[in-house]
Symmetry: C3
Subunit: 306 residues, 3 copies
Amino acid sequence: MLVVEKKRRDFYSRFDFIDSILTYEDLDSAVTLLNSSDVIVPHGSLIEYLGIERASKLKSKSIFGTRNLFSWESDQKKKMSLLKMAGVKIPEQFEDPEDVDRRVIVKLPGAKGGKGYFVAESKGKVKEGLAEVMRKGLIKDPSEALIQEYVIGVPMYFQFFRSVVKDRIEITGIDVRYETNVDSLRRLVDPKGVEPSFVVVGNIPLVARESLLPNAFAYAESFVRVVDDLVRPKMIGPFCLETVVTDELDIVTFEFSGRIVAGTNLYIDGSPYSWLYWREPMSVGRRIARELREAKEKGKLEEVLT
Amino acid sequence: MLVVEKKRRDFYSRFDFIDSILTYEDLDSAVTLLNSSDVIVPHGSLIEYLGIERASKLKSKSIFGTRNLFSWESDQKKKMSLLKMAGVKIPEQFEDPEDVDRRVIVKLPGAKGGKGYFVAESKGKVKEGLAEVMRKGLIKDPSEALIQEYVIGVPMYFQFFRSVVKDRIEITGIDVRYETNVDSLRRLVDPKGVEPSFVVVGNIPLVARESLLPNAFAYAESFVRVVDDLVRPKMIGPFCLETVVTDELDIVTFEFSGRIVAGTNLYIDGSPYSWLYWREPMSVGRRIARELREAKEKGKLEEVLT
Amino acid sequence: MLVVEKKRRDFYSRFDFIDSILTYEDLDSAVTLLNSSDVIVPHGSLIEYLGIERASKLKSKSIFGTRNLFSWESDQKKKMSLLKMAGVKIPEQFEDPEDVDRRVIVKLPGAKGGKGYFVAESKGKVKEGLAEVMRKGLIKDPSEALIQEYVIGVPMYFQFFRSVVKDRIEITGIDVRYETNVDSLRRLVDPKGVEPSFVVVGNIPLVARESLLPNAFAYAESFVRVVDDLVRPKMIGPFCLETVVTDELDIVTFEFSGRIVAGTNLYIDGSPYSWLYWREPMSVGRRIARELREAKEKGKLEEVLT
């Protein structure tokens, strides 16, 4: 069952595998559409567009995942603090533009796919950039922006699944985001006049050097442990560690997603990693369905719904 | 059955799945090789190397696809006019180098994988570049070249299939072309002395941000509608919209292919998108075979052959 | 069965498909762990970390692959000489930094994922760079480094399998290595102060333009022929030609691997190429198992073990 804005019904009707489509005209009514037996699988847009307040009106035990993680995720500074507590490597963070002493990336609140993000090589450029995004109305106050060290390395997005039923963490796939226009700057010998932008428009599949995986798993475990401790009831289902890998083979996590991510779309028929666990195609969507079924069979449904 | 130049027989003989191989020594004889019951699946090279004139000698009802689209496709200006009529976003086009007022890419006729294409930042550079490709004999007259706005964004190639039998448009996959040497310029800190070139040598798989898809489908539908109107008998089978996605999430189509494209080779065992329609691996090759079989079963074979 | 350093046991225990895990505390004891009926599938790290000397202590007939190729592979100059004898296109090589007359890449011995490699545009830069890597203790003498023409084009890694049982060469897949930080330089408008590095941290899938494949196969065959002639008993199993493809569609091989490579991890469920040979998912791991089984059935086990 799909819940979707009315104007998008036509598009989703193209796909037979969606057994039913509920539509809404405005977001306030959207939250009232579901029955108490329905289970929502939250994605990034759910929180981004629904907003924390409306999301809190969704019925109790209607969400597969960690509902209370939403508020951590929607506040970039809280988000980074959770990672810091997990003890994973994170980039330096600068509260005050005045303190900037290296190349940084400035990120705006929300997960609207990187809109408005910019890279700056100096504190002066940070201030100029902040003035610009305020002028454009993207933020109201400089303090809303997150000023993060720009770690030199290559981006790598590790997708995990915390199974409550099996009591284990699985890697479900790895991807790289495809960002416009920054991923095409490379193609211009003379990029003069082109402002780099970081809007995510796709995902490319990837496998990691095997020797990176033990460390990636160690970070995933620390992350789960900290969420279990701080966010009730605990970490449930899919999450993603968004990292840069340096040439010292450090994995630096600059963000996380506490729910299913778009990069899993690559692996509808299974990923190079899902095949290590399953002898059948296992998308993350199917993995969630499997977890729900097994939880039900074992009387643990209450544990995976929030 | 494969029809191939004699010197390539050895290569293709390596693959058992090809049940028979016909060879030719020259292109003039190639067009006479087929029986009236044979069906040709045209690809880019068919027209590029066979030429429109020889292609027109292929028997009637021997082609799966829109034979009359070949002449539109082989003329870049006609090609762009078809897209314009479809109402999809396309780059600005400059008839006269004198009018160039922004960064442009200059494309030469034919689909020889981007050979001779160049980017220019000013009208002066356009003129220099045109003189150079004429000197090299790649074109005879500047008017043969297509001068197209160089849209800033990331390339994305949307592969579709228009099923006449099912009366629907399916997305069969998405890819990015891998071009030499432009896709390695990024790896040089100091690319001094390297002329960028745009020769396609491979394809990389990709999924698109989900919110791009409704728009991509809308464009695919407009395109099909215009072909149905202007090119007899109508749009049949696979086609590809070759686009740049901007950071405003605009999909700008700079070219199309009215037949199967090389990027479908990525998805021999199915793509992340084909699995949305089929519960079995569905390459575009197999999709074509399926369409032919179903057309035959429903007495519609005449409708998909031209 | 997996043989692994003790501290890695926990990581590999996560995966049920590994039926048993043997651990070692130091490499000297590692080589004594195996029974005479065990077969080792050597990978890049085996030689890199075990060292030629310890590797030579592994029991006779315990290795699937060409044991005697290890010493060729671990010496970059011997390695390139083998390619040269095979008649495949290779980059120019400079014995003396003084002779450098173009852009070169300087490679250090070993396969530690590209650590310490650098690009230089002039002989002066080569000398500076060599002094630097010596200062860092990465090499002891300039002559240890391989100074290779930096071929302009895009990297492409062709994975092959030489089947002794079927007496044929199969292509098992193609990939591009994902290198930090060089593959992210493209994302910086102003990469000032960033030293490019070439540490492999992942692999991205790819298919090649079809017209490249006959040439790639011709090179693979020449390579196998030369190994058969020079390295006893002959070429067995997986190997990889590591190439740059130019805009003249030349395939320039700058390295080879005489065994399974990390890029095959992409294709655990089969590659676009493996499906051309097999009607079932065929990873390279499974391909090796299949070869062993068929060799056994045909009494040819001795021929594929060294």
